[in-house]
Every structure is written in structure tokens, then in C-alpha cells.
Symmetry: C2
């Protein structure tokens, strides 16, 4: 699969609500993730830590609706637009809008960089 | 100005149709640009070449409407969503959708990476 096929399949799975399947299929064991804000999950290294971040996020936010747009591709990177209507534990319902930049090596996502 | 202020001001100028002013204000003399497709303008190095690409683009496309969304920020980078309704010379009117990833150093944009 070339980068555009990987990006489109990953985007399709996420848009269908199959995020767990998407990341099990496409995350590299070495995936690193980078959030723009400080804190425990600002940077993760390796698939176990990335999975732990995802689990933490799901346990602390109730998701009402997810919209995924894209992909847009350049070289070995692609971007998706995410809009997530969710309620944080003990918080107010809000719309989270973000762009995620994915870097692909050998058919797997090795980096996710979050922009918001 | 921090990265978010630069990103917001740049996005505002572009959204108001003041792209020339935005790039004169924020492009570094060393700006590099990277398109995802091969050809004469696939990569440019330095502000003269970036300006030449912009001039070529404007001379070869009639722009009807521009929508700019964002910015979304991470570290020293930000992203914008561009939707441009335009007609290429000798072509059909189309909607161009792209994400642009901007890298900022010392208050100036040193890299633009186009995703589509």
C-alpha cells in the first residue's frame, strides 16, 4: 500500500468509529505521540504508552460524536481533521477540533503530532 | 509574539484576502516550500523562489473564493485549512482543499509543507 492508500484506509476506519482497529492495524510498535500542551501525556514513546494514553482519554471523556475529514498527503506524511463532541469527566460538553499530522515508515504510523 | 499569536495573525490576514501582506510580514528570507507533487515548483528554497511560485500560481489560476480555517498549533508549528475555488488557465473551475503545515523560527515562517 502506498501512503495515500494507508491514509485513506486509516481515515475510513476512524470515521466509521473503528479507531481501535485503525491503530491496531497501522500503529508501529515504536509510535511516538506529541500533544501541544504539557502534562503526563504530552509525549508518549512506544505502542504501550500510546495505548495507555488512549485508554486514559476514553475513561475520562464521554464521546458523543466524531467527525473525521481527510486525508491530505505530502511525502510520507498525512493529515486528518478531527472534530469530537465530548464531555470530560466533571466538565461541560464541548467540541474539540484538531488537526493530526501522521508520519508513516514501512507502512506503519511512527508519529502522531496533535495540533489545536 | 508567541507562536499562537503569529499563527492567528497570519491566518487572519490570509482569510481577509491579504495573502501578499501576510507573506511579506511573516516569511523568512530562507523560507522553503514543499508540494506533494513533482514538477518545477515541488520544492522552493528562499523567499525569491517562493514569491516566484506564488506569482506563477496567481497568473495561472483565477481565484473566485478563498476560505481559511485555523490555526491549530503544536510547538513551533501550526496548520491551516485552505479551500480555494478557482479556475486553472484552460481548465475547469474546481475546489482545491489543502492543509498547510507552517514551521516558525525566530518569529518567521521558515517552511510551508502542503498536503492534498
Amino acid at each position: 500500500m502506498d501512503i495515500r492508500e494507508i491514509a485513506e484506509d486509516f481515515a475510513r476506519l476512524c470515521a466509521e468509529g473503528r479507531v481501535q482497529e485503525a491503530v491496531r492495524t497501522y500503529w508501529s510498535p515504536d509510535i511516538a505521540t506529541f500533544e501541544p500542551v504539557p502534562g503526563e501525556w504530552a509525549e508518549t514513546r512506544g505502542i504501550e504508552q500510546a495505548m495507555a494514553k488512549m485508554t486514559w482519554w476514553r475513561e475520562n471523556h464521554e464521546i458523543h460524536e466524531i467527525d473525521v475529514e481527510g486525508p491530505w498527503v505530502n511525502g510520507n506524511q498525512f493529515t486528518l481533521y478531527w472534530e469530537i463532541e465530548m464531555t470530560p469527566k466533571d466538565g461541560e460538553t464541548e467540541d474539540l477540533e484538531e488537526i493530526v499530522l501522521y508520519t508513516v515508515e514501512d507502512g506503519k504510523i511512527v508519529e502522531e503530532r496533535y495540533f489545536y
